[in-house]
């Protein structure tokens, strides 16, 4: 078992012939993901790597192949439309990897996907991986291994760091989800925590947050009220100065809100394990799996 994606995921890749799209499609196929279709307007009828049919629209791709999940690698000005196109075509899960999507675009896209009951992950995210079954996005497959830990994070490479350390210590993962570093994203911590709580194979959760916003505080509140499974948390950006955007558009401390201290306090109040350093996850998770 796992959350959001598994071996039955049938994936359509939007932007399959682009530089990033083609590179990562090959990687996803090598990992064993069922890539059933690609979309590049004007290249309908061609094949990717001689096997994957390419369509002009997501609608065509879904009708012909029964794709139920989409991953988006198109450039930022077109990403909002690509998300809406996928949601309108009837896929259940849309994963947007694209970085640099204007936040006002997301104010339009968010209600559009919500009203259609579609789950959006991202934008500006590394995607997700269910080790041994499927990967959708760009998380390196070889750093993951199947096991009992659910991983959810706002960051890309920091996720890799933690997952890699868990894997090296022999602790595998059910699913790793990167929800993205933008101020408005489709899926938040609570959505993932809820899914992990329901997933029978997940025994503990590792959660990597960042400065900025109040998602982590709300997640802590949720954990306190609704979760039986243990959660270990980390906050990146404890040393960040206020008012400066630390790379991720969402990672900015405004006024007195969104600080690391405030978030760690919420974690402590929820009885969560707190990793001071990325490497602390190993021991903290291990202790909670016993």
């Amino acid at each position: 078992m796992s959350v959001f994606i598994d071996k039955n995921t049938k994936l359509v890749v939007q932007g399959i012939t682009g530089r990033d799209g083609s590179f990562h499609t090959k990687q996803m196929m090598e990992y064993g993901t069922q890539v059933v279709a690609g979309v590049t307007p004007g290249k309908g009828g061609q094949k990717f790597e001689g096997t994957v049919p390419i369509f002009n629209t997501v609608m065509d791709a879904v009708q012909a192949t029964g794709a139920n999940t989409s991953v988006i690698y198109v450039p930022p000005p077109f990403a909002a439309d690509a998300i809406m196109e996928a949601a309108a075509a009837g896929v259940q899960l849309v994963v947007c990897i694209t970085e640099g999507v204007p936040v006002l675009d997301m104010t339009k896209v968010y209600p559009f996907v919500k009203e259609r009951g579609v789950r959006l992950i991202g934008p500006n995210c590394p995607g997700l991986i269910t080790p041994g079954e499927a990967k959708v996005g760009i998380i390196p497959g070889r750093i993951c291994t199947p096991g009992p830990v659910g991983v959810v994070s706002r960051s890309g490479t920091l996720t890799y760091e933690v997952v890699y350390q868990l894997t090296r210590a022999g602790i595998g993962q059910t699913t790793c989800v990167g929800i993205g570093g933008d101020p408005i994203n489709g899926t938040n911590f609570i959505d993932c925590l809820e899914a992990f709580e329901k997933d029978p194979n997940t025994k503990a959760v590792a959660m990597m947050g960042e400065i900025g916003g109040t998602d982590e505080q709300e997640a802590a509140e949720y954990i306190k009220k609704h979760m039986k499974k243990p959660v270990v948390g980390f906050i990146a950006g404890q040393t960040a100065p206020p008012g400066r955007r630390m790379g991720h558009a969402g990672a900015i401390i405004s006024g007195s809100s969104g600080t690391a201290a405030e978030k760690l306090e919420a974690f402590a109040a929820a009885g969560m394990g707190i990793a001071q350093r990325p490497m602390d996850f190993v021991e903290l998770i291990k202790a909670r799996l016993k």
Binding site: V103, Y164, M246, A249
Partner: protein, 379 residues
């Protein structure tokens, strides 16, 4: 991206917001002649990307043109939060009856632009939110429908009981909203929104923050960037496609990915060091990016040790290794370097580094501790 008050006011004027006339001066003589032209009392206001300009002495009321010249002499060249004032806005001083606050931000919780309005204007809105939250009205806007007239009127009446004033304010909200959306803002504010003794409603100060992700499709807005008011190393980094923020410490950090870059800074601090910067070389890196990153970091005289922390996913670690070799051949390092890399093409990267006399580790914790010790003069 921040823009100056005078630039924000120009945009807002374009949408019809009533704003007292003003012009920018870069010399005291210019300030004097602008004041003379208006023939009335003026405000001379420092144009820098910093809050608290008034408290710092960067905003002055001037009765006469001679007064404007004198105040501009004092303000031009002064430093506000480390930023040198190079321009002042000379603007007609409005008669102030009362002051209100009107702002829009993109709110993460509702995932919508949200208006915040308050009759307690002229002061820091965050202070109002903390101390007297009931004095602020929040109105989220569904961007698919825009700001409905009834919501604009509701805000107008929250500020003013007089229907004429409420109507005037509601109109300004619509204009502010239009400017906010068209300019790709993440924040737009009028503070204060002033009612004059004769019953005019005017925007006396304006502020806009633009979403950096909008700049590619809004060239006219992008052109408002004032590089002279930014940290030079940050301008250099942006032109090299790096995300860089200068800090005060002595461990120079080069990392891929924003989350890992923050976590690396935190770990430096955890082991008793101080990071000199935040630097994210981004995803698909090439050796050129690493060369630029090293150039920018070594230009900071405070840096006593350099720390690379690379987790190769899309980033190829051999690209990073090649960048380090190229950069240090051209400009030999004067400070020690600690390299941590793991992930894509790690074996090739290690070979490149070893052949060129560098050592590298694959452990983040170990590398950070070593860099901190080196910055402190240890081995």
């Amino acid at each position: 991206m921040n823009i100056h008050e005078y630039q924000a006011k120009e945009i807002l004027r374009g949408y019809g917001v009533p704003i007292p006339p003003g012009e920018v001066a870069t010399t005291p003589a210019e300030a004097e002649s602008i004041a003379k032209k208006y023939g009335t009392a003026v405000m001379v206001k420092a144009q820098v990307h910093a809050g608290g300009r008034g408290k710092a002495g960067g905003v002055k009321f001037c009765k006469t043109p001679a007064d404007a010249k004198e105040k501009a002499t004092a303000i031009l060249g002064m430093k506000i939060k480390d930023l040198t004032v190079e321009k002042v806005l000379v603007t007609v001083a409005a008669d102030i009856g009362s002051e209100a606050y009107v702002g829009i931000i993109v709110d993460r919780a509702t995932k919508k632009p949200v208006f915040m309005v308050s009759a307690a204007g002229g002061i820091d809105i965050e202070q109002v939110a903390a101390e007297t939250p009931e004095k602020i009205l929040y109105v989220p806007v569904d961007v698919r429908y825009g700001l409905p007239a009834y919501d604009a009127m509701r805000m107008g009446f929250f500020l003013f009981s007089d229907v004429k004033l409420a109507r005037a304010a509601a109109k300004i909200m619509q204009q502010l909203y239009a400017a906010f959306m068209a300019s790709g803002c993440s924040l737009a504010e009028i503070n204060p929104l002033v009612v004059t003794p004769t019953g005019e409603v005017l925007a006396v100060d304006g502020k806009m923050v633009i979403d950096d992700n909008e700049l590619d499709r809004l060239p006219a807005v992008a052109a408002l960037r004032d590089e002279s008011s930014e940290e030079p190393s940050e301008v250099d980094a942006r032109n090299a496609n790096l995300t860089f923020i200068k800090l005060d410490g002595d461990v120079g950090c080069v990392v891929n990915g924003a989350g890992l870059a923050m976590a690396t800074m935190d770990l430096v601090k955890y082991y008793g060091g101080e990071p000199a910067n935040f630097l994210d070389i981004g995803g698909s890196s090439n050796p050129e990016k690493v060369v630029n990153a090293l150039r920018i970091i070594t230009a900071d005289k405070n840096v006593k040790a350099i720390l690379f922390n690379i987790f190769g996913g899309i980033t190829r670690t051999d690209d990073v290794a090649n960048g380090i070799v190229t950069a240090t051949k051209a400009n030999p390092l004067k400070v020690p370097i600690v390299i941590r890399l793991t992930g894509t093409n790690e074996e090739i990267a290690m070979k490149i580094l070893t052949e060129n006399g560098f050592s590298a580790s694959s452990d983040m914790d170990e590398a950070v501790q070593k860099a901190v010790a080196l910055a402190k003069g240890g081995k």
